[in-house]
Amino acid sequence: MSGTGSSDAVVARNVDMDFGTGAMAVKQAGFSLARGRFLTILGPSGSGKTTLLRMIAGFQTPTRGEILIGGKPADAVAPHRRSVGMVFQKLALFPHMSVEENVAFPLKMRRFNPREIPGRVAQYLDLVRLGGFAKRRINELSGGQQQRVAIARALVFEPELLLLDEPLAALDRKLREEMQLEFRRIQKELGVTTINVTHDQREALVVSDEIIVMDQGEIQQHASPVEMYRRPANPFVAHFIGVSSFLAGRRTETGLTVNGSDCAGQAVADIAPGAEARGAIRAEQVRIAAPGDALSGCDTVLEGQVSDTIFEGERLLYFVTLPALATTIQVFHHDPAEHAPYARGATVSVGWTARDLLIFPAKDR
């Protein structure tokens, strides 16, 4: 994903943002995004996502470094002349205008041919499936419909770049998942380069072509969703995306030794044998079976006791205490066909393949 070509819609180089309030909001951010791609910036609250997005939008100027949009500095032109559509966290729709007027607003401000405006507005309202709502007032719409107006308004003038700042955060889960698919559909339909900001890892995985994970102002990893999931760059990413258990130990030839027991695994970086290291394994990659089951195909098999069982509907989450490792790990198990989960206190076998236990240098967060 690195390497800048002429087809890049957005390029950031060594971008710092220092508000002078202690820690920097964004530190040494660098990435490039090719035209037509859908990028999601993912990170916990306060990790600098909005700040980075606002710098890309040109609302804020980086303390150091530069951001190029279509090859030109982001803040070189006045905000109202930029070709950037933005959907804000609180939507910022105009309550005193109808749906239609909201969507027509950028066209009027940008001096589109007045005869062209009604057709375009209708076209974009259809795109977001609000065809019949043109005359409604904003406060007569549901939360999801307001989202759609905000998207239509940001896209109707055909910007080069679409920026989304957690516009789905306030929606309930069902609606949010529906809107995620909508974002994806609309982005694919128009092919507009899009940068989306969210703290919802599921959303990032579902909608994006590529993901940037941020923490404390720093980019932790920039990768495709599958790569991000399978090959997290550090324990923070492993922790933030999915459910992982962590094992502290020392590096061995074949993996990691934890509390004197060997665990098969693979290192993500060069770690000297004997050096301190941390293993991470995802809950769905640990297999669980009745005690004594050999768990064919697993490179490490250990016995432990179920310390807690959580029913999550489509799956069960077990907390299994492993005396050999002196730790508890989390294990997903699909709701078994016989509807008979392992009871709390039951002895079970757990196992995994070497490929799935990722070993990080201990200094990584």
């Binding site: 939008a57 609302f59 006045a78 905000p79 109202h80 002349r81 930029r82 950037v84 559509g85 933005m86 804000f88 966290q89 609180k90 910022a92 105009f94 309550p95 005193h96 607003f105 950028p106 401000m109 940008r110 308004r153 940001a154 003038f157």
Partner: protein, 315 residues
């Protein structure tokens, strides 16, 4: 119910509140609670009631003419006072002056108050906001009379402004006792009221809305025109009504900065009550003022809807 340990006692003010509640229960039993609302607005209703009584008295007085030989009010009613008030060119001038000054003051005040309130709401640095607030409130504490006197000192024929002008060779000019001085004094007096009424309206507009308008292609004059002003409309109407009615009925500023030659309706009424002692004519003028003010406020409500004054701008 949780049972606190025996040695636990609720603080004194809690127990006092309990006692008050028990007494209130005796005096005003729970089943009357539906009517509690009326109880609370009773004092206000009483005051308004008194005002209405006063108005009835005034209405009565306005229908009696003054006998200039005996200085007694006539026994029987006539509309003579109203005829006199409405046909007199003096009062027509006074009325026109009050009305035009009220409109002018309202417009000027709103133009000045809007950016001030906007800055107050949007400014990031706490000390700037504090400075703006203090600058706004200081004149409040000084009061109208002292403030008007201050203007006399500053704008008088040998006042600070004229002194300064003479230094650059401009001959002293009359800055006081004219229409302009009165409007100037009124605008200065009304500004804090208008700002305070506009601040809530502007606070209700998220800063993101302005940013969004900018990112959609609006330059700042267009953001002001298409987004800020329409969204602040309820506040503007509210502030405008308050400034307009306060100005229309103002007494002190025209009296002091007008120097007797720039009377408003209130000054004319004052003259009738306390100089000429023609209560009848004074009452008639007062009622005409009330009627004119009410009609104008009513018109604004009819055009914009009473609801526009409430935040949220529902119909």
């Amino acid at each position: 119910m949780p049972n606190p340990s025996p040695e636990f006692r609720y603080p004194l003010h809690w127990r006092l509140m309990d006692a008050v509640e028990r007494i209130a229960d005796l005096v005003w039993p729970r089943r009357l609670s539906r009517h509690t609302g009326w109880l609370f607005i009773a004092p206000a209703l009483l005051l308004v009631g008194l005002l209405v009584l006063g108005l009835i008295q005034i209405a009565d007085a306005s229908l009696r003419t003054l006998d200039t030989s005996t200085f007694l009010m006539s026994e029987d009613w006539s509309t003579e006072n109203y005829r006199k008030a409405l046909s007199s060119s003096t009062y027509l001038t006074v009325a026109w002056r009050s009305l035009s000054a009220a409109v002018l003051t309202t417009v000027l005040t709103l133009i000045l108050a809007f950016p001030y309130a906007w800055a107050l709401v949007r400014v990031k640095k706490a000390w700037i906001r504090k400075a703006l607030l203090i600058t706004l409130f200081l004149p409040f504490f000084i009061g109208q009379v002292v403030r008007a006197y201050g203007w006399l000192i500053i704008l008088g024929n040998s006042g600070m402004v004229n002194e300064a002008l003479s230094l650059v060779g401009v001959t002293p000019m009359r800055l006081l006792f004219n229409y302009g001085a009165v409007v100037f004094g009124l605008v200065q007096y009304m500004l804090p009221f208008a700002v305070l009424l506009l601040v809530p309206a502007l606070t209700a507009i998220p800063e993101e809305t302005e940013t969004a308008a900018g990112s959609l292609g609006a330059s700042w004059p267009r953001i002001l025109w298409h987004v800020l002003l329409p969204m602040a409309k309820p506040g503007l109407i509210g502030a405008g009504l308050v400034v307009f009615t306060l100005t229309l009925t103002d007494f002190a500023v025209p009296a002091m900065l007008g120097g007797g030659g720039q009377d408003f309706i209130a000054n004319a009424i004052y003259d009738q009550f306390f100089r000429t002692a023609d209560q009848g004519l004074g009452s008639a003028l007062a009622l005409i003022l009330v009627a004119a003010g009410s009609v104008l406020v009513g018109l604004v409500f009819m055009i914009f809807g009473a609801g526009t004054l409430a935040m949220g701008g529902r119909k």
